[in-house]
Symmetry: C2
Subunit: 141 residues, 2 copies
C-alpha cells in the first residue's frame, strides 16, 4: 500500500511542490520505491500535517523544524515549546501594533483625499512631506 505524493498532498492539503520542498530542506525523509517515486509512511503524512498546521499558525520554517524535533522528543520540556510559541506571539503583537498604526495613517490619508479628477492630493502631499491641513507628527520649525 504505497502512498504517492499526490495522495499525501490530498490528505494534508499541501501542494506536491511544497512537500518536495520540505523534503529538500530536510523536514521529512520519505522512503523511495524501486521506480524512484517517493513512498510516504503514515508518519511522514502526520509530520506534514503537523508542518501544515504550524505554518498556518505563522511559525517560520526553522521554528517548525524545532517544533517537529520537540514533538518527536519524548523527553522534551514543554517550556521549550512554550518559549518558541511565546516569542512568535510577541512578534505577531509587534506586527499588529505596526499594522494598526499604519492603518490609522492610511485611513486618515485616504479619507482626506477627494478622489476626483483634480491633481491636488493630500496623500501625495504627505509622501512628499508637504504639510497640508491633515497633520502628521508634531514637527514645528
Amino acid at each position: 500500500m504505497t502512498m504517492n505524493i499526490k495522495d499525501v498532498s490530498t490528505r494534508t492539503g499541501l501542494p506536491a511542490k511544497t512537500i518536495r520542498y520540505y523534503e529538500d530542506i530536510g523536514l521529512i525523509r520519505p522512503d523511495r520505491q524501486a521506480n524512484g517515486y517517493r513512498d510516504f509512511s503514515d508518519t511522514d503524512c502526520h509530520k506534514l500535517a503537523f508542518l501544515s498546521r504550524a505554518r498556518t499558525l505563522g511559525f517560520s520554517i526553522e521554528d517548525c523544524r524545532t517544533l517537529l524535533g520537540l514533538y518527536e522528543d519524548e523527553a522534551r520540556a514543554s517550556a521549550d515549546v512554550r518559549q518558541i510559541a511565546a516569542h512568535h506571539l510577541d512578534q505577531i503583537d509587534k506586527r499588529l501594533t505596526e499594522l494598526l498604526e499604519l492603518r490609522d495613517t492610511l485611513q486618515r490619508l485616504v479619507s482626506s483625499c477627494a478622489g476626483d479628477n483634480r491633481p491636488d492630493c493630500p496623500i501625495l502631499n504627505d509622501l512628499a512631506n508637504v504639510r497640508t491641513s491633515t497633520k502628521r507628527s508634531s514637527a514645528g520649525s
Copy 2:
C-alpha cells in the same frame, strides 16, 4: 556642490545599498560625475525621501513607482492616487484580521501550556491535531 551617495543616505535615512538598488530598478536616475560616482540632485534626494515615506507606509515597490509617477504628473487625478492607497488599506485590513485571529489562537495555546520540564504540551497537541481540553474549531464525531 556634488552630492555623493553617503550625503543622500544621511539626508533620507535610506542605506546607500538601498539607494543603489532603487537606481537599479529604475526608481531614480542620478547623474554621474567624471569619476563614475553618482551625483544626486535635490530632486533625486526628494524622490528618495518620497520613496522612503511610501515604503514606510507599506506600499509595494511597484505602487511606489506608480505613486512617484503620479506625483510628477501635474495632470494627475487624485482619484488614481486614492485608489492605490485605498486598495493598500484593504490589504492591510485583511492582514490585520488574519493576524488578530492568529494572535487569539496563539494566546490561547501559550496560556494553556504549563511551560515546565514535563513533556506534555497542548501546543504540540494542537499542531499534531490531537484534541485536548483546549478546544479549537468544532469538528465532531
